[in-house]
Amino acid sequence: MKPPKDFDRPRFLKAFTALFFVFLFAPIVLVVLFSFNSSKSLQNFDGFSLRWYEQFFGSESLRDSLAASVQIALVTMVVATIIGTLLAYGLVRSRTRWSGGLNVLMLVPLVTPEIVAGVSALLVFTQVGLQLSLTTIILGHITFSISYVTVVVRARLAALGLDVEEAAMDLGATRLDTFRLITLPAVWPAILASGLLVFALSFDDFVMSFFTTGESPQPLPVRIWSAIRFGVTPTINAIGTFMLAVSVLTIGLAIALPRLLGRRESGVGVLFGREAA
């Protein structure tokens, strides 16, 4: 039987979705395009040039900020991925009387407005007398990143089921060996993908960085914030485009990863599948 006509040809929906994508990408295309503009104008494209990138990479303080951002994102990625993965394993494979509460505590950071998390981080660091620096930014970033890792890895662990692990232990493997040799490799794509996601989130983060940053070096988004408030300059387009490239490469890698590792599952499914929603 043929489906009814208007179900067949969703012309309106198609046009609407196309228009949506135009609006979604127009400002971004603009930023990328004008980052290569040879003049200072933000209205007319006067020819290709790399002068705004030269200004970005030529500035020692901006280079320091870039290095700071990368350092923050790398440390955050490693620590949050380890802690988040362990937490995921614990939540899926154990039933303690704390598990229910811990599960909620793990989910709350995901729905807490960034400004609340930023204010609490600032207050706790100043109360314990910790000097605001890259370290405080990293501590703040790890705090909001752990939950992302846990949610993504937990979904994979739950899908894995117990039988493989039980089979390994029946064959004489110790619990630690089973975790190391069976469980970890099975969820490896989810661990790496969530780690890359955390890198991108940390590299891009503004609010937590803004509340926990010291004087210098400040991470790139904090520098962008100060710059925007002084007015519109094309160097921001260059920084924004560069950060976009880093994020797209990171997320692209996360999405391609399962395939690269020879798995059948899709990276989009691992990261943004219904388990993560």
Partner: protein, 275 residues
């Protein structure tokens, strides 16, 4: 040692981290919200409920109301824009589904500040659109610019759960609705919407929560007339140096959002057990 005891050990680092760096700090915010400042602006603990009276002072109350209004308008617009898009991708995306979802997510990874700033470059008084039209239309520094910026910033949080819900739904249900001579509107209202209501609720909360606490959009696209509670909080910590009042504002914001968070977490937990 049982499997469960072995696995329970894995909980320790994460539990400690989240308690010490997330739960305890929220407690400190609460404690400082009842504090005061000395003449040098240092924060002192104490019992000063006046901070909360100040939050609900007629000077600041409109800011709170505006934040909620802006966030609700943002949710409504995100639903209006996001539902058709998610519907099209989920039902008609075919083999392009994953590509289209990735395209929806991609702009989210452009720095939020840069994305907001891009709208100034587009629609500002000296922007591309006014330049191209040779006009002098005032887009920026209006409340609508702030709402537009929030929609652009958080739309992805609406589309993803909607997409997940629609993708899970069997399209045959829609066809069945039409076979039974339901009009498109009736089919949508009686079949599609009830089947995706979880996605609608999840998207609503996921957009509302960050939107109501945002201070970037109002600062860059609005101006003092459109300031939201986030701007007020930010000012207390970086300009006014009145940390206890800032902490009280943060506590009120968190308390107000608590209901939304509980609703969302309960439905998320129910969904997790349903699978």
């Amino acid at each position: 040692m049982s499997q469960g005891r072995f696995a329970a050990g894995f909980l320790v680092p994460g539990a400690l981290w989240l308690v010490l760096l997330f739960a305890v700090p929220l407690g400190i915010v609460l404690a400082i919200s009842f504090g005061t400042t000395d003449d040098l602006g240092n924060t002192l603990y104490g019992w000063y409920p006046e901070n909360y009276e100040q939050v609900f002072d007629p000077v600041f109350l409109p800011v709170l109301a505006r934040s909620v209004g802006f966030a609700l308008a943002t949710v409504a617009l995100c639903l209006l824009i996001g539902y058709p898009v998610a519907y099209y991708i989920a039902i008609f995306g075919g083999r392009w589904k994953h590509v289209l979802v990735a395209m929806v997510v991609l702009p989210f990874f452009v720095n939020y500040l840069v994305r907001t700033y891009a709208w100034i470059a587009m629609l500002g008084d000296e922007g591309v659109v006014n330049g191209a039209l040779g006009a002098d239309i005032k887009f920026i520094n209006t409340p609508w610019a702030v709402i537009g910026g929030l929609v652009y910033g958080y739309l992805v949080f609406m589309i993803l759960p909607l997409y997940a819900a629609l993708d899970r739904m069997d399209p045959a249900l829609i066809e069945a609705g039409k076979d039974l001579y339901g009009s498109p509107w009736h089919t949508f209202r009686n079949v599609t919407l009830p089947h995706t209501i979880q996605g609608v609720l999840a998207g609503t909360v996921l957009v509302f929560l960050p939107a109501v606490g945002d201070f970037v959009a109002a600062q860059l696209l609005g101006g003092p007339d459109s300031y939201m509670v986030g701007n007020l909080i930010q000012q207390q910590f970086f300009a006014a140096e009145n940390w206890p009042f800032g902490a009280a504002l943060t506590t009120v914001l968190m308390a107000f959002l608590f209901v939304w968070m509980v609703l969302y977490l309960r439905s998320a937990a129910r969904e997790a057990t349903a699978e």
